[in-house]
Assembly symmetry: C2
Homo-oligomer: 318 residues x 2
Amino acid sequence: MTARYTIGIDLGGTNIKGGVCDRRQTLLTRHAIETQAELGCEHVLERMARLVDDLLQQTNLSKAQIAGIGVGAPGPLSHAQGMIYHAPNLPGFVAVPLRDRFAKATGLPVVLENDANAAAYGEFTAGAGKDVRNMVMLTLGTGIGGGIVLDGKLWRGRYDNAGEIGHTVIVPDGRACPCGQRGCLERYASANAIAERLREAVAAGENSVLKPKITANEPFDARDVLQAAEQGDALAARIWDETCYYLALSVVNVRHLLNPELVVFAGGLINAGPRLLDPVKEHLERLSWKIAPDAPRIALATLGTDAGTIGAAALAMS
Amino acid sequence: MTARYTIGIDLGGTNIKGGVCDRRQTLLTRHAIETQAELGCEHVLERMARLVDDLLQQTNLSKAQIAGIGVGAPGPLSHAQGMIYHAPNLPGFVAVPLRDRFAKATGLPVVLENDANAAAYGEFTAGAGKDVRNMVMLTLGTGIGGGIVLDGKLWRGRYDNAGEIGHTVIVPDGRACPCGQRGCLERYASANAIAERLREAVAAGENSVLKPKITANEPFDARDVLQAAEQGDALAARIWDETCYYLALSVVNVRHLLNPELVVFAGGLINAGPRLLDPVKEHLERLSWKIAPDAPRIALATLGTDAGTIGAAALAMS
């Protein structure tokens, strides 16, 4: 019986998602359980092992048929050492040698990868990037994660920290970022930053249909900003457009540094579809050079929340 | 008789430099002749062939002992197709299949490479980067060129146009660049940009010891700006410091995207030595995150004007 399947696990602060893939990166089944992160590291490792058992049951596979497990986890972490240095959303995950401990617990080979890298690799193997060799992905969510695939391989860098596009500086001495820098892309174009920039503009005296919510301290998010923009709210429209402008600037820089044929946007923000993609393309047209025909194609991710699971499974195969 | 040597050629608008290297990238001899670019493409190709003959004579080597020739040339060009698309400093060099024509002229295999890439590869094989696997080089001259070495190989990108760090946008909607974009690094931190920014500040009413030269329309360059800064000229000091600040911002972005262990500065500007390197490092300390110990080392190139020749020769070997 040859091991022709792999398991991908996407370890998040709220849920642990998992799936079984075949050699073609087809997701045969998926399953998710609560992380119960507040119960600590040991407990989360047990939850992950239970998820593996659940997946084997669902698929009627035995461990002997599984070539390995890929785990996408929040970081910073070291792929090479299989170690999570520190995961702010997972209490107790400080200097955890997750790869070796989970391998011991399951009896299977384990690969540990940064969750943004795993998602990028998923889109590369089975999603928006399946027909290219070079791809850069920006995951636009609460923050901005990134992943780089060059010549078919995940580029991790010397310190397993490449692809942190959210922390490239897009505005010199710009908005303060919790990372300690100023002007990071994440502080302008993440879902959180969109809501925050609107809130600040209103606090500074600008008007918006969202002002009553803000005054009443009611929650609102990037979706509300987009909706307000579409209903003619000038401030919301400006902030949404600026977001697309900053994303376009990042694409210009990725283009000149890495010259990939494809840039993929992923994450919650891409639910906006063409309302995100079209203005980004318009800004790009204006912002980037015409002297060489080396513009990357821009596309939206296609795998949704399965990207991390599929990518982790694919990494376990390679 | 095995072919254990290669020839490197650095084709410039004024001079054609050449050298012979052994398998360890030791430069056995070097020679330069005038390009005589104004006499056109055919003539320049003949000059290149003559340089090869000169080098063989100098070293007492026969063509049978030469494994190949590497040519570093201004672009844009295609390494894969061996084609110079357009070299503004070389009249008549439009869509020239240089690799195949020069191979025919010399009877030797030829590799064509972008000159900034060739120089970066030279520093990687035999200079500042000889002990690392991942390196990004910025060549600070009239403009700003770049070269990227990842896992020991030159990263050219999908369209042979990677490493154009000089045209990453460092100031959104900043200074206009001849490339068609705004805010390119090259418009802030190249030798030309330094002199130009000082000239503009004086024209806008600021004072400087260089003002008489500017008023008299006398030429001056980045060296004069540095000298004036050291003599206590406040405007010159500010412009020099801003230059180092913008270079540091670029290093931050290279760090987060590619995570190399080394960033090398090359080109005329590095004659300033620690007066360039120290303030760049100070700005970096302030500008970049401390949450992960993944800062690249910063160093100055060591091969001077030989880097392009050695790099081209090394590329002919690989």
